[in-house]
Amino acid sequence: MTALTFTLKAELKQRVDVSPLIPDRLADRASDEIGAELLQYGNRQVRADELFSIEGQGSDRLVFRGNGKLDYVGRGMSRGEILIEGDAGSYLGMQLRGGRIEVSGSVDAYAACEMKNGEILIRGNAGDFVGACLPGNKKGMAGGVVIIKGNAGDRVGDHLRRGAILIEGDAGSYLGSRMTAGTIAVLGKVGDHLGYAMNRGTVLLAQMPGFVPSTFNDCGTHTLGFIPLLLKGFEGLDTRFSEMSDTLKRVRRYAGDMCGLGKGEILVAV
């Protein structure tokens, strides 16, 4: 499939909101119409072709030659694919409804914020509040899969409701805070205040955290049938978790946060 490629003409001085540049809007557009799309650039609006040189036809596949100042990449998109060569800014895949976003570099805060469905693959690191909701809102990510090959920041999965966040590196503090449901899995280390105020949902850890919060109660070690099923469900995605369905079955279960509803769980592989 031919791709529609956006390459920056010059170094960005301000952050730019590229949310209008999604396959839903551009797939059937002519090149001049795409160039005329208005983007918020700092405190003013500019045409897309002022910032980017645009190659290719309207397509379900977009490519950005990345930059850490590109915010809201793929916001609300429902189909197609966006590839980012390099880094992206904040709010990557915010309110994503379908389709796929892949970033070869790293992203800033609020990736997959309020995401509904689809797939996000971040090959580098992700900032804080992955899969969370906007400040003041109470409904975080509600579906889909986010894969982070590197490390993730603090407050990952804050208010998470459904879907899975798979982190192959380390995660910061307050992982899974205020989770309503859903799954977060981490292969590396995790920070302090794990599962803070978690109501329901699952945090699956490949290694024992520095310490388990005192508001999580030890439920013992168990072989849980749903874990291989969960991991097999990631087959076809570019994640190491999908290869672990034969090995990761037995876990130590901690239930909490007992200061909240107390129906969440931290599962640590043994």
Partner: protein, 298 residues
């Protein structure tokens, strides 16, 4: 028509529409998957009094099951969707939820949805956990041996019940041997079950009875001990008749099963006392599916 000395009657089996679903039961090993599956499909020989007709379709390799454990596929048939839903739910709750190490999954994913674990989850008394995996919803219900993992729903499809054929033999052991050969062959056919004990019915019925309370009674025309007492359909040398009833997801599945079953029975031939193959019908009034024996064996 005559196969290996066995006469194939110019008659037909008559079948009727049903609703069906398939469930997949897995467990720590095949032995415990069988325990759960046999319990779930027990007392399910005929809709006349069991509520549903059910049976084990086949064993599943770990690679074929959702959770990678050994499993059993079972088919459950009922006269309507509501009855089927009720039967599936009560049987799953009493026979699979209770069976050690078991897990329960949908075996049919297209059609009308009915609850599988959707209501069984309440057994978890608030400790149950929902997980959406690959677009499907599962329930983790805490139980004393660990967790009961159950898919939220399964689907029902249109199906066919009541396909059958009769094996007429010179003795009871010979009739049973032919039935066993037929069942062994028919078990290899997918999408069908033979719901009676061992797949064989010795008490074929006719519609109606001299007793008003009964809707069905013994098929006296095929009862060998009544040859001199009733209008018999048996010749003097026939001493035993047994029936094989088949439920299938489609009429084609039933035809395939009937064909291999009759072939296997006829394989024993007249020298082993197998004399005739016939079929049960109600003059074409019972159901829209007519399985003409001679067409199937042609």
């Amino acid at each position: 028509m005559n196969i290996n000395g066995v006469q194939i009657d110019a008659t037909f089996a008559e079948a009727f529409p049903m609703r069906a679903t398939r469930v997949i039961i897995t467990a720590q090993n095949l032995k415990w998957a069988y325990h759960a599956a046999q319990a779930m499909t027990g007392f399910a020989t005929s809709v006349i009094a069991c509520g549903c007709e059910a049976g084990i379709e086949r064993e599943l390799e770990p690679s074929e099951t959702p959770d990678g454990r050994p499993g059993i596929a079972a088919l459950i048939f009922a006269m309507g969707g509501k009855t089927l839903a009720k039967q599936v739910e009560t049987r799953a709750g009493q026979c699979v939820l209770t069976s050690p190490t078991s897990a329960l999954f949908a075996g049919i994913r297209e059609g009308d949805k009915i609850p599988l674990g959707k209501n069984l989850r309440f057994f978890g008394d608030g400790f149950q956990i929902a997980k959406r995996i690959g677009g499907k919803r599962y329930w983790r219900v805490p139980v004393m041996d660990g967790e009961f993992l159950c898919e939220d729903t399964t689907c029902t499809v249109k199906a066919v019940g009541g396909g059958n054929f009769l094996i007429l033999a010179e003795s009871q052991p010979q009739a049973l041997a032919a039935c066993e050969a037929a069942i062994d062959a028919m078990k290899k056919i997918p999408n069908v079950i033979m719901p009676f004990p061992g797949g064989v019915v010795r008490s074929g019925s006719k519609v109606g009875s001299k007793y008003k309370a009964l809707s069905a009674s013994t098929n006296d025309a095929f009862c060998p001990t009544l040859k001199g007492q009733t209008k018999t359909d048996l010749s003097p040398e026939i001493e035993s008749v047994m029936e094989i009833v088949i439920d299938g997801l489609t009429d084609e599945d039933i035809k395939k099963a009937m064909r291999v079953g009759i072939e296997a029975a006829c394989g024993l031939g007249a020298e082993n006392g197998i004399r005739r193959i016939s079929a049960g019908n109600y003059g074409g009034k019972l159901g829209p599916f007519l399985f003409h024996l001679q067409e199937i064996m042609a």
